[in-house]
Structure formats: C-alpha cells, structure tokens
C-alpha cells in the first residue's frame, strides 16, 4: 500500500488562495461580459459562485487550522528548548560521573597495590623480637650512633668507618695510601682492630672488655683518610661529621 504524503497546511492554503483568485476573476469577468453584452445568465456563474463560496469556507477553515498549528509550534519550540536544557544537564552529569569513575578507579588501583604489599609482607613476615635483636646488634657496635660520651679519637663511631671510606669510590679516586704510608698503620689492621698490644690504649670511656682490640688514639682511625698535608683540625671535623651520621648500615656485626 503506497503511503500518501499529506500536503502541508501552507501548500493547501496557497492552493486554496490560488483557486479563490482564479474563481473570483472568472466570476467577475463572466458577470462583466454578460452585463456588457446583455447575455442571459447560463447558470455557469451560479456554479462558479458556489464553488467560490465553498473554496472560501475551506480557506477559512485552513486559516483556523494554521492558527492552531502556530500555537502548537510555540509549544514545540518550548519543548525543544527544554530538550536542549535537559541534554546539557545530562552531559554535565555524565561528565561528573566520568570524573568520579576516574577517581574511584585510581583509588581502587592504589588499594589493590596496598593489598598486594600487605600480602607480600605477611608472606615474608619477621618476628618483632628478631628485629629488636638485630637492632641491638647494630647499636651495640656503635654502627648507627656514637656513644654519648664520645670524644674525638674514640674509635667507637658509626659508619662509615675508615675501611668503608677507603673501599668506596672517594677513596679510590683520591688514590689514598692503604698500606703503612708515612709510618701509619695499615688500614685493614685499623678496621679490624688488630693492633699490637703495646699500641692498644686504654681510655676512660672504654670498659675493660670493650677496650680489648680497640683502635689507638691520635686519630689512628683516620690515618687512611689523611691526605698529604692534612692537618689536625680537619681530622677533627671529619670525625665530628662521621659521628653525626645516622647511617644504619646492616653490615655491622
């Protein structure tokens, strides 16, 4: 079944107006002709007049319809504006939801990462006692903090000690003497505390058991670091800086 496309009201109005124009012209011409030539009326003019009246009525009805359509058009424009406003509101909300989704996704990712870390930590858990023991071991050797009564010359000091300094990149760069230069003691012996008994000093801060195997005074601890021409003041500075260090190397034992 073919779909009949209904004509628009405008087309119908214009068509009706054209018809009215043609019919009225024809009627007037016919009347004028009949009056000029004194011809008898054939009845055709009556038919045209009837058609004119009928078409005029249709035209008026169409005009009413057009006015109604104008009102509907206004309503449609209001609805279109409302649709646009709703669209903009929806887009705004969608944008906010997207942002929220992004934030939540980031939070979830971070939470998952934390859970993974927690699982990992649980699998490789170490008892607190063991950690405390280890901390005692480190602190007992003054590896992380010098004793409270530390004074320059005291070999009980935190890392880095001379051995670490010499074995590090700085020590290699300076090409420092490592073996008995200028009458100094060998660095290895210093680090290990292997000194002749005659050279082993006794300090008031040393307890009897700790004093055994301690390094000698007079900055014997700094021999390896001392470049040629190095004076005593500088040595004291170096020692003071080393004391302040809070290095917590786990190699101390």
């Amino acid at each position: 079944m073919a779909t009949v496309v209904e004509k628009s009201t405008k087309e119908r109005l214009l068509s009706a107006l054209d018809d009215l124009e043609v019919l009225s012209r024809e009627l007037i011409e016919m009347l004028a002709l009949s009056r000029n030539q004194k011809l008898p009326q054939t009845g055709e003019d009556t038919q045209i007049l009837e058609l004119l009246v009928q078409r005029d009525r249709e035209f008026l009805e169409l005009m009413e319809t057009a006015q109604q359509q104008g009102k509907v058009h206004q309503e449609m424009q209001l609805l279109e504006k409302e649709v646009e406003k709703k669209d903009s509101d929806i887009q705004q909300l969608q944008k906010q939801l997207k942002e929220a989704e992004h934030i939540l996704a980031t939070a979830v990712y971070q939470a998952k990462e934390k859970l993974k870390s927690i699982d990992k930590a649980r699998k490789g858990s170490i008892s607190s006692e063991e950690i405390i023991k280890y901390a005692h071991r480190i602190s007992a050797s003054n590896a992380v903090c010098a004793p409270l009564n530390w004074v320059p010359g005291d070999p009980r000091r935190p890392y880095p000690t001379d051995l670490e300094m010499r074995s590090g990149m700085l020590g290699h760069m300076a090409n420092l003497p490592t073996n008995g230069v200028n009458g100094h003691l060998p660095g290895d012996a210093l680090a290990a505390g292997r000194l002749p008994d005659v050279l082993t000093p006794h300090y008031p801060w040393q307890s009897s058991d700790v004093s055994v195997g301690m390094l000698p005074p007079h900055h014997g601890n700094d021999f390896g670091l001392e470049p040629p021409g190095h004076n005593k003041e500088n040595e004291d500075d170096v020692e003071a800086m080393s004391t302040d260090s809070s290095s917590s190397s786990s190699d101390s034992d």
Partner: protein, 99 residues
C-alpha cells in the same frame, strides 16, 4: 473562551475574500467607477494573504505530522527527565559488602 471565540471568528472573517467580491459585484450592478478600486483592493488582499501565509509559523507540515512531532518531543522530554532522575538518584557511596 467566550471572549476568544468571537475574536477567532473575526480573524477568520478578515481573511475571507467574499466581502470584497460582493462589493465588486455591487459596484458592477451600479455601474460605479469604484469597481476598479475594489478590484485593486481584492488584488492587494490576495497578495497580503500570500505573504501572511508564507510568514505563518508551524504550517510547513500537516496537522497530523505536527502532532507526531509534538508527541516525539514530549516523549524525548519524558525520557530525558527519567534519565536525569536516574543519574541523580544513583547511590554514589554505596559500597558493596565484602564477601
């Protein structure tokens, strides 16, 4: 309603061409010279009616099509309202219970 009805009728009567045709016929009956003037009036009236029709809003479609468009628009507004309500009533902080 009682006021708008006569107004509408008056507007419709204003659009009618029959009074002018009637005036022309009367002038012809009287052999009056005003017939040319009346004919000119009719032409002007027809021309004005054409312009008025061209400028009328909402007459580019038939009443049926217009009603369909109106229904579509109303449906769109309704759907979008529902969507907005749905978005606004979303429970953003509803945390699913851990199983």
């Amino acid at each position: 309603m009682a006021v708008s009805q006569p107004t509408q009728e008056k507007e419709s009567e204003d659009c009618s061409l029959l009074p002018l045709v009637h005036d022309i016929i009367k002038c012809m009956d009287k052999d009056s010279q005003d017939v040319h003037q009346e004919l000119a009036k009719l032409k002007v009236k027809i021309q004005e009616a054409r312009e008025q029709i061209s400028n009328m809003p909402g007459v580019d479609s038939s009443p049926l099509e217009q009603q369909q468009q109106l229904a579509t628009l109303r449906e769109q507004v309704r759907t979008k309202n529902q969507l907005l309500q749905k978005y606004k009533s979303l429970c953003m902080f509803d945390v699913p219970k851990a199983s």
